[in-house]
C-alpha cells in the first residue's frame, strides 16, 4: 500500500474582513472552506483552480505560515497544529517551499553559497565543515555551475534563480516540497528546463511534491494526482489520467475545455462559462459553482454537494456534484 | 460620503481632547504660581489667595480641567491676565489677520507650486525643468525669516516699492505672502513634479494616447487629477507649517497677528491668551486636515467610502 505522508482533514482558513465604525470584523473571506485530502509518499499532487480559489492559502496553512482557522494536518502521523513554534521550526526541515517569485524570496545581499549554507545551518543537517562541499554539490544538482556559488541573486536570470530556490529547498533533505506557482513566471523554454529538473530530483531523492499551479499543461506533465479547487472547496480529485480523460465535475470540464490547444487542426467544442468567479466573502449557498454552472437546478442552490465516487469512476476519483449520474448518462446536457 | 465625514468628525474628539490636555498642563507645568504672576511680585499672600480662589486655582486639578474643557468648548477663556479684556476680544482680530496671511500664502504656494511642477514634469530635463527645480531647491533651503529680511531690504528699503511693515493694503500684503508662501510653493512644485512623472508613466496614460487624445488633454484631464492625490496631502501638511511660519513672518514685518500676540503673551506669562491661541491653531490645523482628507476622497474614488 502507498504510504500516506500528509493528511489534511477539514481544513478551514477564514480571513477576517474589517469594517464599520470601529474596524470590527464584519465578515470573513472563506479562502479555504473545509477541505480534506492526503498526499502519498513519492507522488506529486497538484492543486489547480482559478486565481483566488485558495490554492496558496492551502499551502501556507500546511506550513503554518498562517494559523488555520480549523482542521487537522497530520504529517507522518503527527499533528502539525499541535506543535509549538520551536517544534514547528524543526519540522520545516521536512517541509520545504518554493515560491513563484524566486527573486523576492532570496536575500539579495547573500551569495548563493551563503543562502544554501544558512539553510543547512538553521536545520543543522550538515556539519559546518562540510557545508560548502554540500552547497557545491547542490548547485551542480540543480544544473548550475559550481563557479556560480559566490554570485548574488541579481546576477542570475529568472530560471536560474528558481534553480537556486530549489537548491535551497533541497539543502535540508526535505520530505515534502510545496511548490507554489514555481514555474509560472518563467518563459516556456526555461519552464521546461525547471520542470524536467523537478522530475529528475523527485526520482533521485524520492521527494513528494504538493504542486500548486494554474497551468493545466504543466500540471498534466508533472502530476500523479490532481485536486481541482473552486472558491475554497475541492470540486474534484483524481489521478491524472482520469481527470484529463474522464472529468466528472462541470467546472473541471469547463476548465479543461477553456484551455487553448496548440494544434490548429484540432477544433473542439468549448464550454464557455458565463460570468466571473463570485467573491469568497459570502460565497454562493449550496454548490458554490451554481451561479455559473450550466446544469444547476434547485438542489444545487440549497444543498452542498459531497465528494463522491461512482461506479463509472476509477477508485480514488471523486467529484462534488449532485448531478454526476445524470450528466454522465447524458440525461442532462448543455443545450446550445 | 456623509457617513465618512461624520466618522472623521467623531474621530476628531480624542485628538482635540489630547490637545486640550496638553494646553491645560502648559499652565501647570510651567514654574511659578499663576496667581502670584497676576498679583505681581509685591502682592500679599492674602491677595494671591483671593485671586487663586477667583480663578478656581485652589480646586483639585481634575476639577480645574473639567472647567477648562467646559469653557473651552464654548471658546470662553476668561479674561487676559495682562489686559483684563476678554480673551476672545483680544484674539479674534489678530486671528483674522493671521488667517488672511496664511490663506493668501497658501494660495500663492498652490498656484505657483502646481504650475511650476506641471511645467517641470511635462518638459522633464528641459531648461525650464532644471531652472524650476533649482529655484525650488533654493526656496526650500532658505529660512523664511531670512527671505523676508532680504525681500524687505531690496524691495522696501532699497527700491522703496513696498511698505516694509504692516498689514492691510495690497502692497503691504505682497512681501509677507511671498515670504511665507515660498517654501510651500517649493514643496508643492517638487511633489507635483514627481507625482506627475509617476502618473505619466502609468498604463492608463498610454491607453489615453492610444485613443488618439491630444497631449494637452492627456496632461490636464488624465494625468493631473491622479497626480493631485498626493499633492493634496502635502498641501494639508503645508498648512500646518504655515501657521508656525506665520509667527516668524509676522515678527519680521511687524504684523499684528496671532503669532506676534502669542509670542508677546508667552513672555508676559498671560496664560489664558496663550492657551486660547494655541488651541485655536490646533483646531484650525485639525479641521484643515479633515478638509484634506475629504478632498482626497473626492479625488480618489478608489478609496472605499466605508
Amino acid at each position: 500500500m502507498k504510504k500516506e505522508l500528509l493528511k489534511v482533514n477539514n481544513l478551514k482558513q477564514y480571513f477576517p474582513v474589517k469594517g464599520g465604525f470601529l474596524g470590527r470584523t464584519v465578515n470573513h473571506v472563506k479562502a479555504v472552506d473545509d477541505i480534506t485530502f492526503e498526499i502519498y509518499e513519492g507522488e506529486t499532487l497538484s492543486v489547480v483552480g482559478e486565481s483566488g480559489c485558495g490554492k496558496s492559502t492551502t499551502g501556507r496553512a500546511i506550513l503554518r505560515l498562517e494559523e488555520p482557522t480549523d482542521g487537522e494536518i497530520h504529517f507522518e502521523g503527527e499533528d502539525l497544529l499541535a506543535l509549538n513554534k520551536r517544534e514547528m521550526r524543526e519540522k520545516r526541515k521536512d517541509l520545504q517551499v518554493i515560491f513563484q517569485d524566486p527573486y523576492a524570496s532570496l536575500n539579495p545581499r547573500q551569495t548563493v553559497g551563503q543562502i544554501l549554507m544558512e539553510a543547512m545551518q538553521i536545520q543543522k543537517v550538515v556539519p559546518r565543515s562540510e557545508q560548502r562541499k554540500r552547497a557545491i554539490e547542490l548547485i551542480e544538482t540543480v544544473g548550475l555551475n559550481k563557479e556560480q556559488i559566490d554570485r548574488y541573486p541579481h546576477e542570475f536570470s529568472g530560471g536560474q534563480r528558481q534553480r537556486v530556490g530549489i537548491a535551497r529547498a533541497l539543502s535540508v533533505d526535505p520530505k515534502l516540497i510545496i511548490a507554489d506557482e514555481a514555474v509560472s513566471a518563467l518563459d516556456v523554454s526555461i519552464q521546461a528546463q525547471v520542470l524536467n529538473l523537478l522530475r529528475r530530483l523527485q526520482r533521485e531523492f524520492n521527494l513528494t511534491y504538493l504542486f500548486i499551479a494554474h497551468d493545466l499543461g504543466v500540471v498534466r506533465h508533472i502530476s500523479d494526482r490532481i485536486i481541482v479547487m473552486y472558491l475554497g472547496k475541492i470540486v474534484e480529485i483524481a489521478d491524472k489520467k482520469s481527470l484529463f480523460e474522464n472529468p466528472q465535475h462541470p467546472y473541471t470540464k469547463a476548465l479543461l475545455s477553456a484551455i487553448p490547444i496548440p494544434d490548429p487542426e484540432k477544433k473542439k467544442e468549448r464550454i464557455v462559462l458565463k460570468g466571473d468567479v463570485p467573491s469568497p466573502i459570502d460565497p454562493p449557498q449550496g454548490c458554490r459553482f451554481h451561479t455559473r454552472c450550466p446544469f444547476a437546478t434547485e438542489i444545487c442552490r440549497t444543498k452542498v454537494p459531497e465528494l463522491r465516487n461512482l461506479d463509472h469512476m476509477k477508485e480514488g476519483h471523486r467529484a462534488a456534484c449532485h448531478h454526476i449520474e445524470k450528466i454522465h448518462s447524458g440525461e442532462m446536457a448543455v443545450q446550445s | 460620503m456623509v457617513k465618512f465625514i461624520v466618522r472623521r468628525l467623531l474621530q476628531l474628539i480624542p485628538v482635540l481632547l489630547g490637545v486640550t490636555i496638553i494646553v491645560f498642563s502648559l499652565m501647570h507645568l510651567t514654574p511659578g504660581n499663576p496667581a502670584q504672576i497676576i498679583a505681581g511680585e509685591s502682592a500679599t499672600p492674602e491677595t494671591v489667595a483671593q485671586i487663586e480662589k477667583r480663578l478656581g486655582l485652589d480646586e483639585p486639578i481634575p476639577v480645574q480641567f473639567f472647567h477648562f474643557v467646559k469653557d473651552a468648548a464654548t471658546f470662553d477663556f476668561g479674561n487676559s491676565w495682562r489686559t483684563s479684556l476678554p480673551v476672545s476680544t483680544e484674539l479674534w482680530p489678530k486671528f483674522w489677520v493671521t488667517l488672511e496671511l496664511a490663506i493668501y500664502s497658501m494660495i500663492f504656494s498652490i498656484v505657483f507650486g502646481m504650475a511650476a511642477g506641471i511645467i517641470s514634469a511635462v518638459r522633464q530635463y528641459s531648461w525650464a525643468d532644471v531652472s524650476v527645480m533649482l529655484i525650488a531647491l533654493f526656496g526650500l533651503s532658505m529660512p523664511n525669516f531670512w527671505l523676508g529680511l532680504m525681500l524687505m531690504q531690496w524691495f522696501s528699503i532699497n527700491l522703496g516699492w513696498f511698505p516694509p511693515t504692516g498689514w492691510g493694503s495690497a502692497s503691504q500684503i505682497l512681501l509677507p505672502v511671498i515670504t511665507l508662501g515660498t517654501s510651500g510653493a517649493a514643496v508643492i512644485a517638487r511633489m507635483t513634479r514627481s507625482s506627475m512623472l509617476d502618473v505619466i508613466s502609468q498604463d492608463y496614460i498610454r491607453t489615453a494616447r492610444a485613443k488618439g487624445l491630444k497631449e494637452r488633454v492627456i496632461t490636464y484631464r488624465h494625468a493631473l487629477k491622479n497626480a493631485l492625490i498626493p499633492v493634496v496631502t502635502v498641501i494639508g501638511l503645508q498648512f500646518g507649517g504655515l501657521l508656525a511660519g506665520a509667527v516668524l513672518t509676522e515678527s519680521v514685518f511687524s504684523i499684528n497677528g496671532m503669532g506676534k500676540l502669542i509670542v508677546d503673551r508667552i513672555l508676559a506669562r498671560d496664560f489664558p491668551v496663550v492657551q486660547a491661541g494655541i488651541l485655536v491653531i490646533a483646531v484650525v490645523f485639525v479641521f484643515i486636515n479633515l478638509l484634506v482628507d475629504i478632498s482626497y476622497k473626492f479625488l480618489n474614488k478608489r478609496i472605499d467610502m466605508d
Binding site: E50, S51, S157, G159, Q160, D187, V188, S189, I190, Q191, A192, Q193, L195, N196, H214, D215, L216, G217, V218, V219, R220, H221, I222, F244, A254, L255, L256, A258, I259, P260, I261, P262, D263, P264, E265, K266, R270, V272, L273, D276, V277 | S201, Q202, D203, Y204, R206, T207, R209, A210, K211, G212, L213, K214, H222, K225, N226, L299, N300, K301, R302
Partner: protein, 340 residues
C-alpha cells in the same frame, strides 16, 4: 485572388537610448497582415512583441525611437506621418488593447466617460448620442446592465470586465485594425476563453483585422491565421498558422513547440531549449539563437541570417535554408518522435 494587405511591416527597427547606449529592442521585424485576418506575434518575454505593437501606433516611450523600416497601413507609411495625422489614426483606424486590464483604465473616471472620450475626439459625438453608443458598445462586449455599469469606476469591475471595457473602448470608432497585446495573459483561463471568443466573434461581425500578441502557442493555434515568431527583437519565422504547427522551420520555433507541456496529450519528457534568453544589452553577433541552437555552425555564430522569403509567402531567418549552409546538408530541424 491576391489578398488585400492592410498592414505591411518591413524591417522595422526600434531602439531605446539609455545614456549613450543603444538598446535595440526591435531589430528587424517584417510581416504582412491580409485584410480581415488575424496575425499572431509569439515569442518569450523581452523578445520585442510589445515594442513592435507600440511602434505601429508610435506609442513608444520618450527615450525610444523607430530608427528604421516601414510600416505601411493601407499603403500609408505610419512612420512618416505628423503627430497630428497619427493621432487621427489612433483609436480610430487602429486601436489597441493592453496586457494589464487592471492598470490600463484611468481610476478616477467612470468607464462610460473613458469610452465616450474616443467617440468625442474622432466622431465629434455629443454627450447624449455618445451615451447611447457607449451602452451599445458595452452590450456588444457582453457587459450586463450597461446603463448602470457605465457609471462605475474601474475598481468596481473584475479583471475580465475591465478587459471587456478596454475592448469596447477600442471598438468605439469601428477600427480597421485591432492590436491586442497579450489581452488575456493576466486573466484566468475561463475568462480568457470568454475574451478570445468575444474578439473572434467581433472580428467576424465587424470585419476587422487583428494582431494578436501572445506567448501562448495555444492561443495562436486557436485564434490566428498567420504567425510571426519573434526571438531577440527579430522575426525568425513567418508562416500560415497550420503550416507553422505542422511544419515549423526555424529551430527556435521547433524548440518552443517541444518545450511546451500540453494538457491534451501526454508527453514523456519535455525537450527544453538549453541556455537562457539573451539580454538586449548583449545580443549575439551572428544568429541571435546560435548560443542555444543545436544546429549552430561557424557561419551562424559569425553572421546574422536574413529573413528570407519563400515562394509560398513564408519567411524564415536561418542559415539552414540558404545556399550558404555549412552544416549537415541532410539536417532536419524537426524531431520526428514528437509528432503526434
Amino acid at each position: 485572388m491576391k489578398e488585400e494587405i492592410i498592414l505591411e511591416v518591413s524591417d522595422l527597427r526600434t531602439s531605446f537610448f539609455d545614456e549613450d547606449f543603444e538598446i535595440k529592442a526591435v531589430d528587424g521585424v517584417s510581416f504582412e497582415l491580409p485584410k480581415g485576418k488575424t496575425l499572431g506575434i509569439v515569442g518569450e518575454s523581452g523578445s520585442g512583441k510589445s515594442i513592435t505593437a507600440l511602434s505601429i501606433l508610435r506609442l513608444i516611450a520618450k527615450n525610444g525611437k523607430v530608427v528604421g523600416g516601414e510600416i505601411l497601413f493601407n499603403g500609408k507609411d505610419l512612420t512618416k506621418l505628423s503627430e497630428r495625422e497619427i493621432r487621427d489614426i489612433r483609436g480610430n483606424d487602429i486601436s489597441m488593447i493592453f496586457q494589464e486590464p487592471m492598470t490600463s483604465l484611468n481610476p478616477v473616471y467612470t468607464i462610460g466617460k473613458q469610452i465616450y472620450e474616443a467617440l468625442k475626439v474622432h466622431q465629434g459625438m455629443d454627450k447624449k448620442e455618445g451615451d447611447k453608443r457607449v451602452v451599445e458598445l458595452l452590450e456588444l462586449v457582453g457587459i450586463p446592465s450597461p446603463k448602470q455599469r457605465m457609471k462605475q469606476y474601474p475598481h468596481e469591475l473584475s479583471g475580465g470586465m475591465r478587459q471587456r471595457v478596454m475592448i469596447a473602448m477600442a471598438l468605439a470608432c469601428n477600427p480597421k485594425l485591432l492590436i491586442a497585446d497579450e489581452p488575456t495573459t493576466a486573466l484566468d483561463v475561463t475568462i480568457q476563453a470568454q475574451i478570445l471568443d468575444l474578439i473572434n466573434d467581433l472580428q467576424e461581425e465587424l470585419g476587422m483585422s487583428v494582431i494578436m500578441i501572445t506567448h501562448d502557442l495555444g492561443v495562436v493555434a486557436e485564434t490566428c491565421d498567420y504567425v510571426a515568431v519573434m526571438y531577440g527583437g527579430q522575426v525568425v519565422e513567418y508562416q500560415e498558422v497550420k503550416e507553422l504547427f505542422k511544419n515549423p522551420k526555424h529551430p527556435y520555433t521547433v524548440g518552443l513547440l517541444n518545450s511546451m507541456p500540453r494538457h491534451d496529450v501526454d508527453v514523456d519528457e519535455l525537450e527544453p531549449i538549453k541556455g537562457n534568453v539573451p539580454s538586449v544589452r548583449n545580443m549575439p553577433k551572428g544568429c541571435r539563437f546560435a548560443p542555444r541552437c543545436p544546429f549552430a555552425t561557424e557561419l551562424c555564430v559569425t553572421e546574422l541570417p536574413e529573413l528570407d522569403r519563400k515562394e509560398d509567402g513564408s519567411e524564415v531567418r536561418c542559415w539552414i535554408y540558404s545556399d550558404r549552409w555549412d552544416g549537415d546538408p541532410e539536417v532536419s530541424v524537426r524531431n520526428e518522435e514528437r509528432t503526434t
